[in-house]
Every structure is written in structure tokens, then in C-alpha cells.
């Protein structure tokens, strides 16, 4: 299934972008045209489509949440 992921637009051109997600992954061909996101924006991506733009404060909160999840998962895996 597709999960909603938040990340940062690291490059954008003609409505397509490379997004680096807070979970450490990246996608090269995200459609950011619906939210008109530019380089540096934080976006919420579903599948390959950005459906929302996050404020820097919200992005920071999401990134912290991911970091916490990664820490907990790491501890659980030993």
C-alpha cells in the first residue's frame, strides 16, 4: 500500500521534483504541480503525488517523529 510520507523538495522543474523523505528514502519523479511546491518546500506525498505543503514548524515536528520512530525501531531490532 502507499503510505503518506513527508519530505523536502531538493530540486524541482516543470511540476516534477526530487523529494528526500524524512525516513531516509527519496523519489526522483514526484508530481508537485498540484501544490506548486518549489525547491526547499516541505511536502506531503502520497504515491507519487504531493497533496500538501507543510509549514517549516510542521515539517520539523514530522521529522522529529520519524527520528523517534527510527530510534525505537532500531532499539527493538537490537
Amino acid at each position: 500500500m502507499c503510505v503518506t510520507r513527508a519530505g523536502k523538495v531538493v530540486s524541482a522543474s516543470q511540476g516534477r521534483a526530487r523529494v528526500e523523505f524524512f525516513d531516509g528514502r527519496a523519489l526522483d519523479d514526484v508530481d508537485v504541480s498540484v501544490v506548486n511546491a518549489k525547491k526547499g518546500a516541505f511536502v506531503e506525498v502520497f504515491g507519487n503525488l504531493a497533496l500538501g505543503v507543510l509549514s517549516p514548524a510542521e515539517a520539523k515536528r514530522r521529522k522529529q517523529a520519524w527520528t523517534e520512530v527510527a530510534r525505537v525501531v532500531g532499539e527493538a531490532r537490537g
Binding site: 502507499c2 528514502r25 498540484v34 497533496l51
Partner: protein
Amino acid sequence: MKADGVLFHAKHAFMPNSLGYCGPDERGQIQSDLEGNRSDEELIQTLQKFEAAYPFLKLIAKSSGREIFDYLVPEAYWIGNRLLDLVPVSDFYSFSHHEIRGRDPEKVREVFRKLDGVAPPHHTFYVMSTYATAAVPDGPNVTNEAKRKIAEVVDNCRISWGRVSKVGKDELKVVARRVNVNDGGLGLTRPAVRRVRYNPEVRPFGTVRAGDVVSIHWNYACDVLTPRQAQNIAKYTDRDISLVNRLMNSKASRR
């Protein structure tokens, strides 16, 4: 039964995984196991790494007292069956906060509050409610082109179904309904012919024929459905759409 459940689940998880949208980078292994009809421990371990799908299976399994890969469990999640109704709302609410990574807690609360706790742990509902609570700029004034793109991604992400009208080498023509976005929310188009990919090496696609109903995920035919499953996916999809439209309309009326 368990082996069937593992393969059924893998068939439906395969395409979004291969596109890089979820799960570990194990595309080759999943495909190889599906082509070999193998539901071994390695495949199970891979499926356990899916960050959303696997927790959903655990939730449904726990509520119904079944094993996680009991066939009815992934069937409930991807297609829909009576096991969905056995999941207590309080469990699903708690699960949505703690088990689904990356989901905004406020949006989760919004879904449950506006739907009075009626929210099924069904894949299609998850997909559609994600769109319904996303902060799409301009809300109801979103452009027709944006509506088309949103409808396309929701349609690709959900599990859809279609009746096969022609079998090609690696492509099927199916008669299916797509998701559309209209002023009242989400809906389904009238049935129309579309093309979907399939893998004839994956059982039972070697013998697929016109008249069969197939499940579809990201433009890929996942499995051939039984008549009961074909009825269920239509029934649960209708229910999901109506719930999501309630959610969206309450959002719009608040503006």
C-alpha cells in the same frame, strides 16, 4: 491456508513496492517468489517490513483471533470481508495513532470524530481518507487538472477491479470503473475499457480468460477474484466512498 494468505498479500503489495512507494527494496525477491508460487519464510520476513500493510494485518488478525497470514486476513484488508467488522473502533483509533508511521495525529482524530467512529481498517478507506484529510491547496476550488491527478493517484493506490475482456501477452483489457473527483467528493466513473499489466508467470494468470474479474493495484492485475470477492470489493468500496464523502462534506461545510 497460511501459504495462500502470504501469496495473496504479496500479490497485492507487489506493485507499489516495486515503484518505491512502500516496503523494503525487495522487488526482485517478491516477484521471484510470486512466479515460483513460494510462500517461504524469506517472503514472510520481507512482507513484515511493510510499514503500513503489515500492521493492518496484525490489527485485523488480533481482532478476529486468526493468524496474520490466514487468507481471510489479507483478504479483509485488500478486498474487504466480514473480519473488518470485528475490529473494535477503539483498537483502530489507537492503532492509527501508534502504528501507522507518518500519519498526522490531528488528521486521525479528525477522521474518527467526523465519522462518529465508523472507520474500517480497509486499504481503500485508508487511501481515500488520506486524500480527504490532505491539505490540498484551494480546497473545493482545486482546478480540473488537479482533480484529474488526484483522482488518478487515489485510483492507482486503492485496489480496484475489472472484468477481463481480452487477454494479451502481458496486458489485459478490462472493463472497470475509475475514481473521479467531483464537487460532492469522490465517486466512480461508468465502466469503461482500460489496459492493465499482468504477469502470466504468476498463478493463476497463466489461465486467465475473458470474463474473469481481477483485482488491480497501480495498473497491475494482482489476482483473479472469486464471485464472492468481486461482490465484496464492490460493497466495501461503496462503503468507503460514502464514509469519505461524509468526511469531505463536513470539511467543506466548515469553511
